[in-house]
Amino acid sequence: MKIHIKNGRLIDPASKTDKALDLFIAAGRIVGVGGTAPTGFEANSVLDATGCIVCPGLVDLAARLREPGFEYRATLESEMAAAAAGGVTRLACPPDTDPVLDEPGLVEMLTHRARLPEFAHVHPVGALTLQLEGKALTEMAELAEAGCVAFGQANRAIVDTQVLLRAMMYAATFDFPVWLQAQDPFLARKGVAHDGEVAARLGLAGIPVAAETIALATILHLARETGARVHVTRISSAAGIDMIVAARAAGIAVTCDVAIHHLHLCEMDIGFFDTQARLDPPLRSRSDRDALRAGLASGAINALCSDHTPVDDDGKQMPFEEAEVGATGLELLLPLTLKWAQEMKLPLAMALARVTSDPAQILGVKAGSLGLGAAADICVFDPAAGFRVTRENLRSQGKNTPFLGRELPGRVRYTLIDGHLAFDGTLG
């Protein structure tokens, strides 16, 4: 299959390219960039990208596919359709499935199930401890062989710091990256919202910023001790960013990401107990949100992710504190990246780097670029077109998002995965 993508504006953050260039694809790879086709290239299919931006397919560091175990909330098929519609061609999935991803067999099954041409590339994050219980180590080397790119705890903390130290030491032995969410489980106990004005007003139990900074201090100290490559997931506070920046300046190898929700929303968005805004970590204050937006722009925060968590209606139609946490996000990652770039007046190439080449680097995979010979994982989108987020518009089985009803910029026209047309937005 040979594909010619013509008349688009090509943005390739990795090579700092932003100009009108065509792309020529053959056998799943990029074989030509520029005005004229490579010799002998005859396209089977020509995709018109007039008015569109052609960029690397998005790389999402956190998408829960809900398999295995939670198929009533979502299936691989429904969520992969959502990924393709959102221009996401590569994603990492957290280990908090049921059973958790702590055995090589489970990881192999998941990657095998995900191996369809129209499906995004899946990189499982293996469990750092058995059952995510924070007690015993998993067989990390075996899990890595089965396809795990990193090891983490999803959003379950390791309470015993000796176990955390040893898990990081063991991972560092093999240079496996360790992905950790920074939240002290004691300070977060029973908490459902940022410990601030809104929680005080609504009578919700709060999670203070100190829950993040204390856990982060522990993680950063142990990163220094062990030399483990640490990636901090879902940073939520201004104080947390400052600590990461200081740690880097002190020579600690640490990266971090932020979720789309925390980039655009704050505690006020809970409104009158809107369970769509029940998230983990909680939405924090307006000034924290502003710091996250600036931190992602400056590079203090390395990547933006969807933290895609489909939840069924029953899980959300509950009193706030009993409702399930999380929001659907795969289809909103690109629009919310564009919205952030617009509002912050950032160059598109830089904004797109945070959802393409930068997260690819954290994953440690060769992806997120459009150079010659690169895999043809491509997103073509119309930046001028917008859409309203509605239940009907979302392909994900999860219709749960605080952005329901909002008008967002950016509409995906085509998504290619390994040169295969996985999504065609021109078909109604």
Binding site: R201, L204, P319
Partner: protein, 320 residues
């Protein structure tokens, strides 16, 4: 941001979920409406026909004697049919959700739900569900949700204050105790600030105050003697025994020493200050019996006024 579900398109009260955000006129109208209902209680036949033929369901997902009883009496004095459900002992244990329970009762032609629930915001969920399913004619009254609100308690407290003190704009009022866990305190604060009380104080140890409470328009005191100086009204809060677990307080004895209302501490308030308590009281924990039974206490009148205020709320909702 969602729209407040408690007002209908004409700005009238559709549900009573919280005092926060209600205009002063609405609060005053409720208090004015309650006044004649106080007189109903003095009559030989304590009934008016305003809710005749209506079904009021008391949905209590959390135990309560006083609040449920006063709601029941209020509804009966309005001639409604009252059905009491204590749900912590029935279907909630069988896995039925709040909304399923409400749907079933709505199918029994309920006109009003009076809801108490351990989770903050549960009555909002119920009201939004009723609106989303086209059953706007069913009214929801919040009888206490988690730590969030207890609006009829807040209103009956305002009725009591107005009865004894008349002008809200001349008062200094102190709320004493476990504000962190108190839905009563939150409703009182919103009501007092809305009605124009120039100084609302909260007095508590730091462990029993929510972060950012000052933003609700209150002055924070940790020293009870300082906080009580010159106040017109002392509103005590109940201290739950479980606060001794979880490292919030060392002991009831120490709490009483620092934050219990004794005649000696009350003497720092204005000589004609009144003492209020939402009940049930823990004598010797937050309040000394000499104060609870003393001449400045208006704790029993609060209960009586509570019936009139709840009659007013239910009558107004049914009329809107």
């Amino acid at each position: 941001m969602q729209k407040s579900p408690q007002l209908n398109s004409h700005g009238e009260l559709q549900h009573l979920l919280t005092i926060e955000g209600l205009p002063r006129e609405v609060l005053t109208r409720i208090l004015d409406t309650a006044a004649p209902f106080s007189e109903v209680a003095e009559r030989e036949v304590k009934k008016v026909p305003l809710l005749r033929g209506k079904s009021v369901f008391n949905l209590f997902f959390e135990n309560s004697t006083r609040t449920r009883t006063t709601f029941e009496i209020a509804a009966k004095r309005l001639s409604a049919d009252v059905i009491n459900l204590n749900i912590n002992t029935s279907s909630a244990n069988k896995g039925e959700t709040l909304l399923d329970t409400a749907d079933n009762l709505a199918a029994m032609q309920a006109d009003m739900f009076v809801v108490r629930h351990a989770s903050s915001g549960a009555p909002f969920l119920l009201a939004q569900h009723m609106a989303a399913t086209g059953r706007d004619h069913i009214h929801v009254v919040n009888a206490g949700d988690g730590r969030h609100a207890h609006p009829t308690q807040g209103l009956l407290d305002m009725y009591t204050i107005r009865h004894y003190k008349t002008d809200f704009t001349q008062l200094t009022i102190a709320i004493v105790g476990d504000v962190l866990h108190s839905r009563v305190a939150r409703s009182q604060i919103h009501a007092l600030t809305t009605l124009g009380v120039p100084e609302v104080r909260v007095i508590a140890p730091k462990t029993l105050l929510p972060t950012g409470i000052e933003r609700l328009g209150v002055r924070v005191f940790h020293d009870m003697r300082e906080g009580l100086r010159g106040v017109d009204v002392v509103m005590m809060l109940r201290l739950q025994n479980e606060r001794m677990q979880g490292a919030l307080l060392p002991s009831t004895q120490e709490y009483f020493k620092s934050y219990g209302l004794t005649p000696e501490k009350l003497a720092l308030a204005k000589p004609d200050a009144i003492v209020m308590h939402p009940g049930p009281m823990n004598r010797g924990v937050e309040i000394d019996s000499a104060v609870a039974d003393g001449s400045q206490a208006v704790i029993l009148p609060q209960v009586t006024f509570g019936i009139a205020v709840r009659m007013a709320v239910m009558a107004m909702l049914a009329g809107n």
